[in-house]
Amino acid sequence: MIYEGKQKIWSDYQKDIPDDHYFYVRSCIRQSIFPASEMVFLDITRNKLQKDFFETEHHTTCGGIAYHSDAIPQETAMTIIARQFALMHKYGYENYVCSCITSFGLYTETLETWREFPELEAKIKEKLWESCKLEFAKPKYLAHASDIIYKFRNQIAQQAKFKLINKKTGEPLRVVEHIGCHYSKMFPSKGFGGAEYPYVLAGMIEAWGGEVIDYPERRHCCGFGFRQYFVQTNRGYSLSNTHKKFESMEPYKPDMIITNCPGCPYFLDRWQYVISETEGKTYGQDGHGIPVFTYEEVAGLVLGYDPWDLGLQVHQVGVEPLLDKMGIPYNPENKFKGLNNKDLGRPELPSCASL
Amino acid sequence: MEERIAGGYDPFVLPFMIGIVFILTYLLIALIRIICIMPKSDRKRLGLSLLKPKIIYKNIKDIFGDCLLHLKIFKCNPLLGYMHASIAFGWFMLIVIGHIEVALFTPQRNGIIYYPLFYRYFVAEQTPTPKGSLFFFLMDFFLLIVLSGIGLAMLKRIRSSALGMKRTTKPCVADRIALYCLWAIFPLRLLAEGFTAEISGGGFLTKSTNTLLANFFGNDINVLPMWWAYSIVLGLFFLALPFSRYMHIPTEPLYILLRNAGIKPSHPRKGIAEAEIYSCSSCGICLDACPMNTQKKNIKYSSVYFIRFLRKNNTQKTNEIADKCLMCGKCVAACPVSVDSCALKQSQRSTITNKLPYNYSFLNDVTIHSETHISDINAQSGSDNNNVLYFAGCMTHLTPAIIKSMTSIFETVKEKYVFADKDGGICCGRPLILAGRTDAAKEVIEKNRELVRNSGCKTIVLSCPICMKVFKEEYNLQGVTILHHTQYINNLILQGRLKLNKSEESFVYHDPCELGRGCNIYNEPRNVISAIGELKKADKEKDKSICCGGSLGSLTLDYADRTQITRESLQALTIENPDKIVTACPLCLKTFGDQSDTPVIDIAQAVADNIK
């Protein structure tokens, strides 16, 4: 792998991200599965980076899951999106930041479609007024939340308490970055680094001391694929795709996986457990799985947040070996304690892949 | 004549005796082995055949004609025929007359095996008698005949072209020993009898030899050494015989018996095959017959070498040659011993290909195209049973001109026919047989037979000679007339159902291997062509016709070599500059069509073009 070659591509795929004042919208899936991630994101950006992030309870789903499952027509999805943009406008913002990759992809797709087909934009404008009586507006900048962390990765590195470095050996951790398919595969120019060698997560890893792993199936989908997971008979297919990725990354002995999509960490994490149960195979060291994180979780760890405050206890693959490697202190007893030390109960211990 | 040596024995007979005892024992064991290895049905067949007067007559005729007089070689090459006949028949007569001598003059020595051979040494005529002179003359006469044959044989070895052979076989070591012994036997006999003639008396040859030699060498010292030499050479010959090509001398009569009994080889080394391969005299006539041999590199694939390697059990070589052969049958037609090397090669292929897996379960679903074609509804049509079943065959579907012509002929004569494989049928099975896959072929044949039987047709017309051969030989369709379209058209002409214009065009007819040598159909196509134009002669015709090169017989012959054969064949066809080349096989038509400068058409096309 010739690093200079990649750098050239990275320099070709850059985009403008405003410095401040963002309208932030959450992700349906992440709110339920990785709730702490969005909390940490807002905490970091607001309190550590001193940025203005606004969010409103009136924000709804973008309709992406229904759209990609062919449950709603495009116009419906577009009208929902137009409403989110209208809310942003209503609250006086023009920089739209979303937490979800599916949403990001759909927003990009919608904006591009409107650009190509102005008559469709006009129609949606009308529909928005008919249904919500809101004023149509388009964001000046559209960014994914990972773009924000990417933009401020070096500031985060300056405030870092821990690095993506094996504290014992001093060597950088080997990190697999997995980019959500809808981040840049549809519109390569809309993502940092383009579609072939996206830089958005790789940049964070580099800035925080880790080493990026380039494995053959790095481009492959996590296996979610919407319909492949939603329909139970198809789940074997979803599983097989995840399996393919792990088989491909195995020789590189990754220490961790970082993702920037709602579905990916979920499937890369949960399917490791299923593979270990059905195939008897694990991909991490000593019979463990490879811990999977969202980029906010990693940013949080680097900045010294308590692992259990980051919600790492809800991961299927135990994160403790990684915390040990990075030298992050944690109290094992607190792992399953919720608010006010309320016992959350312990998961039935899987036969492998977890701690 | 009276016995000269008391006891009728001399040690010099010993080498001969060793030889003769060895060879007789060997032959007996070999015979028992062949009979034992033969499938039971074949044994039964052989036994029954030996009781049938018709076959007995044919056996005697063939043994005389083929083994002694070599009439087949005579037919194609008189000088070569004479060479073979003089040695075989001459020697045979020497033995027969020798025995008569013993029986007449020294009946007390009857049954002593060496006695007739060394008769002149043991017996002398003190006073000339007419009877004695007659025998002296007869024996000398046949000896002379044999010697003349030996002389020609030596000439052939030195210059094969002198005897009309382009090539001759390369002998192996045992062949050489036996050959030189054979060459030496009769001159030595002449010398031995010559030196002895002063004592024993002799005829025109021995007596004059005596006169000539006595002057130079003196008699007494040479008599015994010459008899010793004669005996030793004979003994050596017999010892070398089983390992040499001359094994054909004792084997051929057995092969004739087996062949006439109608037995066919099922394995390249069992039963009749064993007799067949030892019947090959390695004469090399097949070398010139083989169409592949216009290229020197292919000579090693000739039948004679195939049989030689078969004898040596060299499986690799036999497989290689068997796979290369075009199976055109030219060598079989030319073989003086009628060794069916194609059948042997086919069974050699079977040893491998019959083991290969196949799955013909699809055959169950195959049905015949059942639509009856009646060109004119007012036409007089007999009962359904008189329907003609037209089976074009796989290859014919690649030559739509044949199908179109046949359809037009059927319509012209208002034939009520069923076009069996109009929408494609299954293969006839012959290509499988040619590849040695006889077991697989059986399934296909069975299915086709069922289809033909179910159609209820009493006549089947075939356009492909490959189908023709297998239909005739393997299909067992009693009550159904099997006709190739050449025969069918010829019948139509003879019956007056088809009226043709005689054109100004001249045609040459190419005999397809499978139709000519395969089915013995030579005259019908020629009659048909004569009815539509002038029939010109080809350089090689009928059973000497050269394969078109497209044969399905060869498994490994490459395209360049095939093309060479095609050119060769076309050259032989066009020596008289015919306007068109006519053939009767879709494969020949397509193969020639690709290479020929002269237009090539099928006989059906030629006929359809000239319908009145």
């Binding site: 074997g236 059905t278 | 579907h397 296909v444 399905l552």
Partner: protein, 109 residues
Amino acid sequence: MTGFGYSLTPSSRINLDDKDKEKWNKLIDLEPDVLKCMACGSCTASCTAGIFTKTSLRSAILYLQNGQEKQAMEYVKSCLLCGKCFMVCPRAINTRHLLLSISKIYTLK
């Protein structure tokens, strides 16, 4: 082990890294013409058995090239050796010998 009601789906991908070259090389030795195929499909189009089955020399060669021996045999097992494919092959591939050779080599244990 826990059952989930679904499991890994087997891959349909051809992995040329895993191809058994030994048999393929043997086939080339026996009938080098196999290399000449340009996948025109003439053989399949005119195949006698092809009317009733999926017999296709073109496909068989392709599958063998890809190392999928079992599938390849499906395309030749019903061949009648009639030789039409030899007549129509634009590259004069000795198809009948190739078919026999395929059967010979790929059924050897």
